[in-house]
Structure formats: structure tokens, C-alpha cells
């Protein structure tokens, strides 16, 4: 427990000393989403701005008006706007992958990492990260597919029960287990990423093996830390949504924008915190010990001492 607390606090210390990364990633996230939402925004303005009916969307949310808007052929298909949003969300994901080595380098650094070093780390580890992500994608995808398939079987069997809640309970239980397994896999590859960057490891397979070994050995400690951080994220999300519903008037677009953006900014923190934990763990447990080759001092051979030197004579 003490070790987990130590990891959490040292992990937190790393993001506290590198807050600028979170701000930059938030800006990146906002800009990507803004570009992704532009198509929808144009569609909505063209369709709604001159119609009196749109006022029913301002005060509260009239589902009927919303459905009708999407159903009208002259509103245009939403699929293009949706595709745009998804593509820019993917772009944010890829940019995160691109810049993450710099972040990890910064987290491990005891001083403010110069910009050059940050981007150097990004460029140096780009191809390594791509390889790492491919392996992670295969492993996580395969395990997730298997677990979701198993969940389907379990839930289907539960649906035969006369206990109506059983399928729901089984689904929740399965999702909780899947979440824990996925988190464990994430820990594995987070450690591998830290190893790749901080050990300057060109052989990605070695980092994967090292990450697996450490994740396995210290699973409960790391999993506990990761799960606690995820709970923080869920609290942020829940609190944000409740605040939105309770405190922000339905007609206040600016209020809703400020709150949602603040919420999204806060939601970036937990994942960085998890990475801080991974870096701390790496530095404490995975850094190869520095072997210092010192020369053995020659053994002094005792030789019969001649006569002690004569004391200086007083003259």
C-alpha cells in the first residue's frame, strides 16, 4: 500500500512539474475537435439560424425538433460530419502517439526538458512507438475480442434465466473484468513505452518483454494505482455532467462551453498521471543498475621496514 501510495504521489509529482504538457495536449485536443466539428457547425448554422423553430432547441432540448432536423433531406447527411469528427479524433490519437515519447522523456527528467530534447525524443522514438502500438493493438485487440465474445456467451446464457436483472449484472461483472484485464495490458505496454524511450531501446521486443515481466511481477501494485486513477477520472466525468445539468442554464451556450472544456481539460490529467506512475515505476525498478568498473587497488606488500627514520636531530 505504501509502495502504491509512493507511486501515485511520485507519478502525480511528475505531472505537477510538467503541467504544460497537459495544457498543450488539451489545446491539441480542442483544435482537432474544432476542425472535426466544423462541418457539423456549418450545417447547423445554415439550417437553424433563420428558422423560428430552432428556438425550441435553445431552452431545454426538444428531442422532436432535433430528430426532425437530422431527418430532413435538405439538412444534409450527418454521416459526412460524423466521419469528419471521427477522423479528427483519430488525428488526436495519432498526435498523442507522436508526442508521447517527449512527454515520457520530460517526466523522467529532473529539469525542465528543453524543446529540442522533447522533439528529439519524439522523432527518435517514432518508429519504435509505431511498432509498439502495432503489437499492443494486436494483443489488446485479440484479448478484448475474446473477452467480449465470452461476455456475449455469458450474457446470452443469463438471458435464459427468469431473473431479469441477471443479464445486466453479468454484463456489468464482465465489463468490470474486461476493464481490469485491459488496464493490466495497458500497464504492460505503458512500461514497455517507458522502457523504449528512457532506455533508448531500439529493440522494441526487449522492452515488451521487460514491460511484461515487471507488469506481471508487480501487477497488483500497479493495477491498484491505475484503477484508483481511473476512478478519479470517472468522478471528474460524473461531477462535470451533474454540474452541467444542475448549474448551467439550458440556454447558456457559453456556460456549457466553459464547463465542458474545463471538464475535458481535467479528464486529460488522469491518463498523464498513469503515465507518471509508469515512469516512476520505471525509474525505481527497471533502470538497469550502473556498473562501475573500478580498478582493484594493488595489494600493498609488506616489506620489512628499515630502521625507522631517525628523528631529526636538533641542531
Amino acid at each position: 500500500m505504501e509502495e502504491r501510495k509512493g507511486l501515485l504521489s511520485t507519478g502525480w509529482g511528475r505531472i505537477a512539474h510538467n503541467k504544460r504538457y497537459i495544457v498543450w495536449f488539451y489545446i491539441l485536443n480542442l483544435v482537432m475537435a474544432w476542425l472535426g466539428a466544423a462541418a457539423f457547425s456549418n450545417q447547423a448554422h445554415d439550417y437553424l439560424d433563420h428558422s423560428l423553430l430552432s428556438s425550441r432547441l435553445v431552452h431545454g432540448m426538444d428531442i422532436g425538433v432535433l430528430i426532425e432536423m437530422f431527418a430532413q433531406p435538405d439538412f444534409g447527411t450527418v454521416s459526412a460530419a460524423r466521419a469528419s469528427g471521427v477522423h479528427f479524433a483519430l488525428a488526436f490519437f495519432l498526435l498523442t502517439a507522436l508526442f508521447m515519447p517527449g512527454v515520457l522523456q520530460g517526466f523522467s527528467s529532473t529539469y525542465r526538458l528543453p524543446r529540442d530534447d522533447f522533439f528529439r525524443a519524439c522523432g527518435r522514438n517514432l518508429w519504435r512507438f509505431i511498432r509498439l502500438m502495432i503489437v499492443a493493438g494486436i494483443v489488446i485487440g485479440a484479448v478484448a475480442s475474446a473477452l467480449f465474445a465470452l461476455q456475449g456467451v455469458i450474457v446470452k446464457a443469463a438471458e435464459e434465466s427468469t431473473n431479469e436483472l441477471l443479464p445486466f449484472e453479468m454484463r456489468m461483472l464482465c465489463l468490470a473484468i474486461i476493464f481490469l484485464v485491459m488496464t493490466a495490458l495497458r500497464i504492460w505496454f505503458d512500461l514497455a513505452e517507458a522502457d523504449v524511450v528512457l532506455s533508448d531501446q531500439n529493440a522494441v521486443r526487449r522492452s515488451i518483454a521487460t514491460g511484461f515481466r515487471h507488469a506481471w511481477r508487480n501487477l497488483w501494485q500497479l493495477l491498484g494505482a491505475y484503477v484508483l486513477i481511473t476512478i478519479v477520472a470517472l468522478i471528474i466525468l460524473g461531477a462535470g455532467l451533474v454540474t452541467w445539468e444542475k448549474l448551467i442554464p439550458a440556454s447558456s451556450v457559453a456556460g456549457a462551453f466553459v464547463l465542458t472544456q474545463f471538464m475535458l481539460l481535467l479528464l486529460l490529467i488522469p491518463r498523464f498521471w498513469q503515465r507518471g506512475v509508469a515512469v516512476s515505476y520505471y525509474l525505481e525498478n527497471m533502470v538497469a543498475p550502473i556498473v562501475v568498473n573500478t580498478l582493484t587497488p594493488p595489494v600493498a606488500v609488506a616489506t620489512p621496514s628499515p630502521l625507522p627514520p631517525a628523528e631529526p636531530q636538533a641542531t
Binding site: 437553424l48 439560424d49 432547441l57 435553445v58 426538444d62 428531442i63 493493438g137 445539468e245
Partner: protein
Amino acid sequence: MKTRSFILFFPLLSVIAVSVLLRAHAAKTEAQAAPASAPKESSEGVTANWGLLTIPDTTLAINSSQPMSQRVVHYEIDAKYDAAKHTVDATEVLTYHNLTGVALDHFPFHLYQNAFHPNSTWVREAKVAGSRDTSYDKWESKEYGSEEIKSIEVSGQGDLTSQLHYIQPDDGNKDDKTVIDLPLRQPISPNGFVQFRIVFHDQMPETQARSGWKRDFVLGGQWFPKVGVWWHGAWNCHQYHAMTEFFADFGVYDVKLTVPQNEVVGASGVKVSEVKNPDNTKTVAYHGDDIHDFAWTASPRFKVKEDGVYQGQMGPVQMRILMQPAHWSQVDRHEKILRESLEQFEKRYGPYPYKTITLVDPEPDSAAGGMEYPTFITGGTSWFMPEGLHLPELVVEHEFGHQYWYGMVATNEFEDAWMDEGINSYSEVKVLDSIFGQRFSMINQLRAALGEREGQRLSYIGVADLDPMAQNAYDYYSFNSYGGITYGKTASVLLTLEGIIGEDMMDKVMHTYFMKYRFTHPTKEDFLKTIEEVSGKNLRWYFNQAVYGSQVMDYKILKVESFPVNWYEEKASHKKEDKNTVYRSYVWVQRKGDFVMPVDIEVTFENGEQIREHWDGASRWTKFTYEKKSKIESAELDPEHTIQIDRNDFNNSYRVEGNGKAARKLTNYWLFATQWLGQALAWWGV
């Protein structure tokens, strides 16, 4: 005194005399038929023991001292349900009173359970046009259903089982066995009676089309051989189609159900007895008056609330509610909406005459929810149902409404589905709006709101140009079109009619229609003529387009312009506009669709002045011109929002100065979703 006695006793004597004559006639008919078909042994080797050839005038199940319908049939069914095999074995004695005015030499029967077969018309249609519950991507053995007549005997004519043959009056599909016809050896003369003794066997499917079993639950709907309706000079006995419901004559039902003792049973009518049998079964008997169908349900896990009594206009109505255990916390919600529905319908349309109403909360994930049978309805909810989602209320209210539009006003659901589903959907809008409020009658949760009338309209606008209301239910393009037109369009058409003849007048129309046609089989013209007679208006122009046609309405404010009248003067174009500037303004209105209807237009000027215009909509477009010291701020079609059938409400108004608040609000949601998606991908992917 003598005169009074005569007045009192003459009708009574007449009835007795007529009864004696009728019985004598019937006996004579039987006697005449006897040589041709001497009574044979039944399949069980027992000589048929024919009951009284008459339809009982019982009133046990209604709050009336006299029958309320013209009773044509009397079904006496003794059925045993095998809960393990999901089968029913039963004997049905059907007495039919020939009130057709002609001799009947053959009788068609519905065998609805035979629909659940891969080559049936029902399944063929459901596979291509869709259905409520099943996609039929693959066929599973548990989806089989069947209804087999083991034997059929006719009073005075013997065993005619060998004469039975399937017919396919609608599509000629020889594999369809949902209608069977029985030619008689002797025709049944006008006003005569005939009795059929039918031994049948059902294999119930896993619930489809609101019938069958799911886990240990069963809903016995459309489960017994049911005779067709002699209507407009011919038998009306359609095959069972994926998009059709039912049609039957009024009468009396006496049904005995034998089920395992642990089952909780609910059924149409009133329960008259319950007897435990030595073989660990029990037999529950029900009686129904003035109904045209009989359904039942059984499950060992129902929790029952039956202490609720609604004091109706004709007498007390017992509300019996059978809930799933996981939904028990919602039982008060169900009882409340059932009571409110009874109140609203009695107030708006007329009395509910039956002594009971049974509300069944069916097995979760079954295709048994949301169905109406006489005095027996199924709802639909789940264990998680926030108060602001009015889905259970909507379903219960809708199915209860069918007690009026189907149960009592018994229209032909095969041919005029809009008359039961659509008129009932219109009632649903009126009732739920009055209970929950117009904007919130479907959803009122977390700032999200959806009104029932908007819901009906939305189901229509997507299929507006596919089908008319007035057509056979089995002729619709698809299940979506059937739903959107019969439910959504009809409700929207009648709500729009309110705007034409007035809401109070429409209430009067509906009350008159119900009282005039309850316990009958009215046609679409009966309904439309009632509207015209009560309102005193010729509405053919509307009915021809809205009911018989598939014309689509879409009016649009095409363009709005304002500019100074002296725009051509150089100084005018440079001068800053002031309060003395006179503007010439135009509003163009377009009729985009082919539905022609007069509309109002409200033009609002920047100084607050409003002008109401009227346009007959005959041409494709029109223009309104104004010269005022103010520019136009906005123009709006149908400012009272009485038209519910316009396909696009967004283009019904135009404001000159755009207001981007709604678009910004939606964009903010979109932005949030996109950002969150990006973060989620990055969380798990990197």
C-alpha cells in the same frame, strides 16, 4: 293499469314467442339435416352431445343488465396448457347465430398460429418488409407455431373433418395455412343457429406477434380456431399477414383453462371459478360478454395487484395488474396510468362497460408487450425506467385505448388498420398531453423533452410519400411505412383536422362516433361521414388527400426581402436609414408538396407590428407585399401550429436576422463528443 300491463308484458311475450319459434325452426333444420348426416361418433368415441343452440344473453362480465352488442358467436373452450411442451389441447364449442340475412353454406376459420412457419405468408412478408419483433435472419425451431384441427363436427351434420381445406384468399400462397374453410352439407338458414365442436391442438412458438411462450411465461393470443366475419355480403376472413391484426364478431366467451397449479393466470373477462385438480393442475374458468376475442396469460412469477377499483360511469371496474417481480416497484405507476386512462376515455368518448380490465406486464425480452385484447392488455417496461421516461405510461394508455378503438368500435384491422391504431394514436396524444403536458408527454428527463404529438408526426414524415392511410394493412410497402402511416399519419391528420373544425368540435365528433358505432364494425366512410355530419362541413377535399391519397404537405417561406422604396435615389442609398424610411417588403410563400390546404401566414415587422395573411395554397407560390416604415423581422406559416402533417417544420418560418444560438449549442455538444472520443482513443490506444 291494463294498458301498462300490456306495455310491460307484450315485449316479454313477444320475446318468448320468437324464441320458441326460433328453437322450433332450428330443431326443424336439424331434423331436416339429420338424414343426410346422422350423428357420428366423435373422435373420442363419444356421441356428440350438442348444447343449446342459442347465444346466451348473460351480463356477468359487464355493468349492464342487458347485452350491449349484437351477439353472433358463443365460444365455449376447454383448454389444457402443457407448460413443458408449450402446447394447448382443447375442445371448442362454437355456436354461431346467422344474422347475415342469407343462407350460409360454408364457414371459414382463422388458424392464426399456423403463421409461424417459414413458408407462411406472415413469415414471407416479415422477412422482406420487416416486423415488430423478428428479423428472420435465420430460422430457429423454437419459432415454429401450429394450430391443427383434429376434428370438427357440426350440429346436425356430423363429423366434417374431411371436408376442411385451407384457402388463401389474399395471395394464393398454397403453403399458407392460416385460413381453413368448411363447406357444410346443409346451409344454415337466415337467423338460424349452428354449432361446431372443434378439437384442436396448438404448438405455441417462442413469442412472436404477441403470442407464445418465453421462458416460463405464456401469452395465449390468437390461439383458437376463430370464425370469420360475414361483412358486406361476404365472408371476411383474411390470411394472417405480418402487418395485420384481427377482425371478429361480438359474442360470449366461456373458457376453461387448465394449467399447472403454480401458474398465476390472467385472462379476458371475469374469473368465475378456480378448481384444483388431482394431477397438480388447476382449472380456471372465465366468462366474457360482448367481446370479440379472448386472450390469457400464465406465469408462475407474476405478482398481482387487484385491489384497485375504478368507479366508472356504468359501475365499478376492477383493475387487475400482473407484474414481473423485478418491476414491482412500478406497479403504482401502472395502476395510476390505467386509472387515468379510464377517466380520460370515459370523459372524452363514453363509458367503459366491462367489469374488469387486466393489465399484464409481460416477460422481459418477449415479443408479448404492447398488445390489446378485449378487457386484457399487455404493457411494456423494464427494471430501469426513470420517471421522466413515460414509456410504460404510453404503452398502457395506448393498449387501454384499444378497448374503445378495436374492443368496442370493432373496425376491420385487416383492411382499415388506421381506424383502430390511428384513431387510438390520436386519442393517445390527447390523453397523454392532458396528463403530462404537450411538450413532455413522452420524455421529460434531464432537460430533454419530447411530446407525443411530435413523436407521432416524426414517425410519419419519414414515410409520407409511400402509402395512403386507406388501404389494406397487408399492402403497405414496409413495416415502417405501416407504422408511420397507420399510427403516425392518422394521428397527425386528425390533429390537423382539429385546426380545421376546432378542437371542441373534434371532441364532439369523437364522442358521437364512439357512441354511435360501439359494438359494431364501422367502415372508414362511417367515420368520415360522422365527422362531416357533426361538424356540418364538407371535408372531402381534406379526406381525399389525407385519408385516401398519399399527397405530401410541405409549405415553405421561400424568401423575405425589405428595402427602401426610394432605393434608386443616390442619397437614399448612402443615407443612414431612420424611422421615417419607408420600406417595400415582400414575403414569398411556396407550396412544395402536392397537398393543397389553406394556410395562415404571420408577418412580423421590426417595430412589433404583426399582420396575419391567409392563402388558399392553390397555386405553387404566392407573394405578399407591404410598404411600411419598418422592415420585416420574420414570417411564419401556420402560426398557431395546428398543422401536424407538414413534412418540414423548419422551412415554415424565416427570420431575417439569423440567430445562431441553437447551432452553437448543438456544435458545443458535437465538439464535446469529438474531444471525448479523441481522449478515449488516446487513453486505450497509446
